[in-house]
Symmetry: C2
Subunit: 287 residues, 2 copies
């Protein structure tokens, strides 16, 4: 049997909840697969193969486009809860009853709602570059994010150098290496998202980030062992939101990386893979 | 050759800076040894063998009593800077020119000053349950610490159940396991510190914690790769001080553990050993 990788895994399709979901599945089968939830306007091809293949070494990895994204049919809902319901439908449709869930940025909001709504489906949770409901600076895009997403780039991919990396030389060099890696797959790539995606995702983000009473109370109900990871200098979802998640979740570890912005896991892919592998492989996540 | 462990390593002595230092040295020789700096009123025998032996598996570990502590001669200075100078004298006296430094609580303040004053002596830094100059709640013992250290305990060791662990059942059970482990060594134990130690250490703590202008500026000068570790619910040195350290140090990772008070490394010794080993063994601590 051929072991597929990030580059070679074929895009497959499965129907659930009225949506035809595009996904890829690769890595070592056996335990709970790890399902990746993508960020704002991202597709399966924005994941870093150094991260996905690194984690696929010891476990099965599943990438997918949620409803309305790239080759998945349907529409992007204007609420995170509905995105999570779609993610749950997808997970069940591929025949799984328990998975580990990684969510990055917007995908981290989806991962939280998934753990809340479907606690039996989610074994462990990894929240990367994300934050809680009504988190700091989360009622809208941060001023830095507005500037970065609003600018024009000669090379469209260079947007991600600003979104994910700091302005330091070391971080920018790591960013260029990431851009090379995520372009390595040339065949069967996901098309970029349509123009309808960003407005719908922004609507969902605004609902999630809006101020409310006792905004963090819901986090007490997410009892899965959780690993929170971010850069210490995230200007897209402020790093303090990762601190809040750790403080409010009943069973969360926090790891922050130095000189790192929103894409810390792409800046330190080997370190991130080791930390996540350690977290997922601990027998008792409390001990 | 016999490989010594936490239990069997003989207490040795070395003279430097007018002090006769008691120390123990064990583990795998080769790279930079890891020098442990102890907390308020602690001796070499308050370290957890699960941590020291765990780390000694891959590196040499050095425990010592700083000046005026237990079997080391001299007096406890009333300033962290002088404690760091004594630590540097000790390290040189045992023939070392570069070491990794771990400091826990008060020992973490000493470790910071050591890295500042002797940058060439310190390769990497591990700051556990500690904080910056003028850190939050560090001008004196926190109210919680005053209550915990001021109480009487039928078993004196039970003080540490309150200092190091949360009130949760899981944490208290981990605490009792720690107390068993740190009592495993029965021969050649350090005597408890004299009555002069606590007042002098409190004087040094108060100086360190006193408010001042731009208190965190000095952290920019600690350029060693640093790992900051704490429990997410530290009431002795508030956890937010670990966040501040990560935010202000130029090259620091932060790791916080769930449901853990001041002694998070004793609550999760295996996890802590893995995280520290990973940090110390990375070729490039930035990548």
């Amino acid at each position: 049997m051929t072991q597929h990788t990030h580059q070679t895994a074929p895009t497959q399709f499965v129907d659930a909840a009225g949506v035809r979901f595009a996904y890829r599945r690769f890595g070592k089968t056996g335990g709970a697969p790890l399902v990746f939830n993508m960020h704002f306007t991202g597709t399966m091809d924005h994941w870093d193969p150094a991260v996905t293949d690194g984690l696929a070494h010891d476990r099965e990895v599943i990438l997918f486009d949620n409803a309305g994204i790239s080759r998945s049919s349907g529409e992007v809902p204007g609420a995170i809860e509905q995105m999570a319901a779609n993610a749950a439908a997808f997970i069940r449709a591929v025949g799984l009853t328990q998975v580990d869930v990684l969510g990055f940025s917007l995908g981290g909001l989806v991962a939280q709602e998934l753990a809340l709504a479907e606690p039996q489906l989610v074994r462990r949770l990894i929240l990367v570059g994300t934050g809680p409901r009504s988190g700091e600076g989360m009622a809208s895009l941060t001023p830095e994010a507005q500037r970065i997403f609003g600018a024009r780039y000669d090379e469209p991919d260079h947007l991600w150098l600003k979104v994910f990396f700091t302005s330091s030389e070391v971080s920018q060099a790591a960013g260029r290496a990431y851009l090379q890696r995520f372009r390595l797959r040339v065949e069967d790539r996901d098309p970029e998202v349509s123009d309808q995606v960003a407005p719908a995702q922004l609507e969902a983000l605004a609902r999630w980030g809006a101020p409310r009473e006792n905004p963090f109370e819901y986090l007490k109900s997410i009892v899965q062992p959780t690993l929170v990871v971010n850069g210490g200098a995230d200007v897209i979802v402020y790093s303090v939101n990762s601190w809040i998640l750790q403080q409010q979740l009943p069973n969360a570890q926090l790891i922050l990386y130095p000189d790192a912005n929103h894409g810390s896991q792409y800046q330190y892919p080997e370190r991130f893979v080791r930390h996540v592998s350690l977290f997922l492989s601990e027998k008792d996540a409390r001990g």
